[in-house]
Symmetry: C2
């Protein structure tokens, strides 16, 4: 397959394909001559994955490269899942501090909240997990807004998160008879299921709003 055919098959412009190659997202084709290379089905699939990660997953090019590198380097065993998980970017919030006293108080409360949660859930996480850091930062941010979780609320969410994670792992493990596909499946489940879940949550919220507030009009979004 020539690059122009690869472009036609996937709908990705030739210039973009070259760009992805330069950025290390896509392996080079097998060169058949100094100015000619042959692309295969694996390039088609990789391009689809790149597109899905950037558009649906909302990943940057750099983050996509990190994730794909983890996929390629995964020794097609268990480490794939962990590597992919850590390669995914994390929503981090770090507002510039205003009042130092208030910041200290908020910070301590957030850290305690996370520690309590992890203990209560009996979660096995390394102390260096970026997710723990990020969660603490997120809770700090909410506390700055005086919108922290009330006692037990966060735990309720965590229980549901555990249920979701069980489904995720089931989904990822469904491919464990095809080791070379495991890492890729892990990416899909970890990175691309998040937006799907978020949309389900929005739909469920919408339903809940309508059920609890019967006076709401039944049409769609307000037109401008």
């Amino acid at each position: 397959m020539k690059i122009s055919e690869l472009s036609r098959t996937t709908g990705v412009p030739v210039a973009s394909i070259k760009y992805f190659r330069r950025q290390g997202l896509l392996p080079a084709g097998k060169a058949t001559a100094a100015t000619l290379a042959e692309y295969g089905q694996e390039h088609v699939q990789r391009l689809r994955l790149i597109k899905a990660l950037t558009t649906l997953g909302g990943l940057s090019i750099a983050a996509t490269r990190d994730v794909l590198t983890a996929v390629d380097q995964a020794d097609s065993t268990d480490s794939a899942l962990g590597a992919v998980s850590y390669a995914l970017p994390v929503p981090v919030a770090e507002s510039p501090a205003g009042d130092a006293d208030r910041e200290a108080e908020i910070g301590a409360a957030a850290e305690a909240e996370v520690a309590d949660l992890i203990a209560a859930m009996d979660w096995q996480t390394p102390g260096t997990s970026p997710h723990v850091e990020a969660l603490t930062a997120a809770l700090r941010e909410l506390r700055r807004l005086d919108a922290g979780y009330r006692p037990g609320e966060l735990l309720a969410y965590a229980e549901l998160a555990r249920s979701i994670a069980r489904l995720d792992l089931d989904r990822a493990a469904a491919f464990d008879d095809a080791p070379e596909a495991l890492a890729e499946q892990a990416v899909i489940v970890f990175a691309l299921s998040a937006p799907v879940l978020e949309l389900l949550r929005r739909l469920a919220q919408e339903d809940q709003v309508r059920r609890r507030i019967p006076s709401l009009p039944s049409d769609g979004p307000r037109t401008e």
Copy 2:
């Protein structure tokens, strides 16, 4: 409070405060003279909210403006929740089509999947909901990758999404005795809980991975 004090209190540079004002994210201070305006506590809170929405929530300036406009225009009653929900951006994926036949097949399957799901959940959503559109697009994207949900899987996620939405609504409704704060609380719950939930999911995934794969790299779950 002068703008320099507002800047010091919130940690946001003066130039950025002016920028947010220009973009319609922050109301102008009460002008006390041609070149002097007075800012109050509401500006402090609004700036905190802007920072939280952009950093933690990952919203663009334009999206933040839309959300805040919905907050301000909410007639401090029920419509606040709906307006905010629709003002939030939605992860949309639309890959350029390659093969027309395959696209048609994928599209039809995704649409049927969404319709079935909404029916099974008895969700009350308007046909024009952008969330329905977005979910269909997301499922199309996954199907393009040959990574669609197996029968019943999506429903299981949806059930959990419903549980989450119930928690969300409880959280939002906790402020219904302070109508002017309801819309703001809705923003916080709808826009800022998503990253928290995502982080909980990551932590839970991490825990699940560790529990399911107790072995060391030398002994994978399924070796080739």
